[in-house]
Amino acid sequence: MIVAKDLARHFDVSKPWLQRTLAREPRRILRAVDGVTFDIPKGTTLSLVGESGCGKSTVARLVVGLYRPTSGEVLFEGRDLSAARASPEQRRRMQMIFQDPYASLNPRWRVHDIVAEPIRAFGLVPDPAQQRERVAELLRQVGLSPLDGGKYPHEFSGGQRQRISIARALSSNPEFLVCDEPTSALDVSVQAQILNLMKQLQRDLGLTFLFISHNLAVVRQVSDRIGVMYLGRIVELAESESLFTRPRHPYTRALMEAIPDLEMTGRSRTPVGGEVPSPISPPSGCPFHPRCPLANDRCRAEMPALLDGVACHAVQEGRD
């Protein structure tokens, strides 16, 4: 349904021209996303995980058209995204759910108007009485009461607000939803409610999801396939179960190793040393090589390509 081909987005973070010229500094380009390729079949969920600054949210914004790609392309059912987004009928079919339910709802609007806005914007249900009926149905669908439509966002808790965001996203009958960290601002018991709701909706409505998260445990619960991102690239892309049972890329393994363990097996862990380098001046060769236990000279010089679901010289050469 969605195909991203060699997608890249660079941001120019240079100082202003005069300052740059006086200080004889070169332009500084931040490569937020640098050559990302994936596809999402209809009715499935692809998740992108990674630490902050790895470019996962930028991919989400590229895929719904909030940013234009610097190079590469996004295809929505075989058509280029910018062409597809030119028609309202196509725009209606993709929606986004954001991380912060406090910032993504207009505080001056009643819930009814928030949820009805996409319906009005796309002219889906012209009759006001039917429109009210549709909003009530959406609110019921996400586990709220139709009476909540008359309230303002501040009267709701974080989890309820995220339900409102989901009702708004569903109101234009989309087929493809991009969820950027939809539960990371929520408490764990509320997170469980929202994740269950999203899985339920996917079953009932046959939705396709691109799910962005930093939490591997959450990702395991919702995904069919998972892409692990590091410094603007996908370093491993695999079926959800095989990623967790047999992680291959050293970074994926390190991430799994680092997660605090509720089982309290008492195993001693070796945390990954170092930090994510700056995407303005990424390391040469494989971006993970300064932190990688398997790095050799080839890793320092040559960028590995994503072959057979993993971008790592060591794995491809059988050195792991």
């Binding site: 630490e51 902050s52 808790s157 974080g158 989890g159 309820q160 408490d187 764990v188 018991s189 509320v190 997170q191 469980a192 409610q193 994740l195 269950n196 899985k199 930093h214 939490n215 591997l216 445990a217 959450v218 395991r220 619960q221 959800s240 179960e241 967790f244 390190a254 991430l255 799994m256 190793e257 680092a258 997660i259 605090p260 363990d261 509720l262 089982e263 309290m264 862990r269 945390p271 990954v272 040393g273 930090e275 994510v276």
Partner: protein, 323 residues
């Protein structure tokens, strides 16, 4: 016990009446012990930490109970007295390292200033010690980086500087409020290892406030679970995580997505925590509790022995009752 909190009560007077934010909080921490405090947002876990270090946001005030450090009351001390204790005997680590550090001073100056406020040290001695502390918390090339400003460090490194700052006057107790929440998992693991090492080697007592059960399970010796301004269960970490006695703790544990398997549907606790102005009579968890019965709605349970923990739940008042 190094720190003892007895029946602590914190109130917020508002225009619409007095809100009780914390009620009947009692616990203790021994030297070298890590006490985890967990709960969802608004449960009062950060406020408990703030009350102990004497930094309650006004108009919040301690309305009852006692806080004792080595047997001496510290909750009613004059401001100047409390300032001497804070930093010297109780260190604090907050969630956001950027707001804790002064952006205008080098980290070296901030460390030296903190140490000299509490310990009789010359400038050279203080600087030497500052470098030592930065090395302790794992900052590479500490001797050079001591003259760097906070913005020149990454998030994980800044949090290490904050920890060094909390440690440099060698406090007996550290109150760490969500010290790893703003950090990525790989950095989080490094910080947790550091805190554990401190408790073990320096016998520092640590009160670790967080909403992340994984962090607690890895770090804490004992856990207190808070709900609506009360401790509803407290006990050894393994017992609380594996054999929770309070239905809320059990629900909280079950709702954590497991990493080692995919489940079709996560257990969820329906509803949400009551607001402070609408805490139900009886047990505050009763409207959401799957095991609720008549007594829960009318009378409030205190902590009582339950399995190997203490739980505030009437289910444990009947001898031989199932959890």
């Amino acid at each position: 016990m190094l720190l003892e909190v007895k029946d602590l009560r914190v109130e917020f007077p508002t225009r619409r009446g007095v809100l009780t934010a914390l009620n009947g909080i009692s616990f203790g921490i021994a030297p070298g012990e890590v006490l985890g405090v967990v709960g969802e947002s608004g449960a009062g876990k950060s406020m408990t930490g703030a009350a102990i270090i004497g930094l309650l946001e006004p108009p919040g005030r301690i309305a009852g109970g006692e806080i004792l450090l080595e047997g001496r009351r510290i909750d009613n001390l004059p401001l100047a007295e409390m300032r001497k204790i804070r930093g010297k005997r109780i260190g604090a680590i907050f969630q956001d390292p950027l707001t804790t550090l002064n952006p205008l001073y080098t980290i070296g100056r901030q460390l030296v200033e903190t140490m000299q406020a509490h310990l009789p040290l010359s400038d050279a001695e203080a600087k030497q010690r500052a470098i030592g502390w930065l090395e302790q918390v794992g900052i590479p090339a500490a001797a050079q980086r001591i003259d760097a400003y906070p913005h020149q460090f990454s998030g994980g490194m800044r949090q290490r500087v904050v920890i060094a700052l909390a440690l440099c006057a060698e406090p007996q107790l550290i109150v760490a409020d969500e010290p790893t929440t703003a950090l990525d998992v790989s950095i989080q693991a490094q910080i947790i290892a550091l805190l554990k090492r401190l408790a073990r080697e320096q016998r520092t007592a640590i009160m670790l406030v967080t909403h992340d059960m994984g962090v607690i399970a890895e770090t804490a010796d004992r856990v207190a679970v808070m709900y609506a301004g009360r401790i509803i269960e407290i006990g050894p970490v393994r017992q609380v995580v594996k054999h929770a006695q309070h239905p809320y703790t059990a629900g909280l544990m079950a709702s954590i997505p497991p990493l080692d398997r995919k489940v079709d549907r996560l257990a969820q606790i329906d509803g949400s925590m009551p607001r402070l102005n609408a805490i139900p009579p009886g047990c505050p968890f009763s409207p959401r509790c799957p095991h609720v019965f008549e007594r829960c709605r009318v009378s409030r349970p205190e902590l009582m022995p339950a399995g190997e923990t203490l739980a505030a739940c009437w289910l444990h008042d009947k001898p031989g009752a199932p959890a």
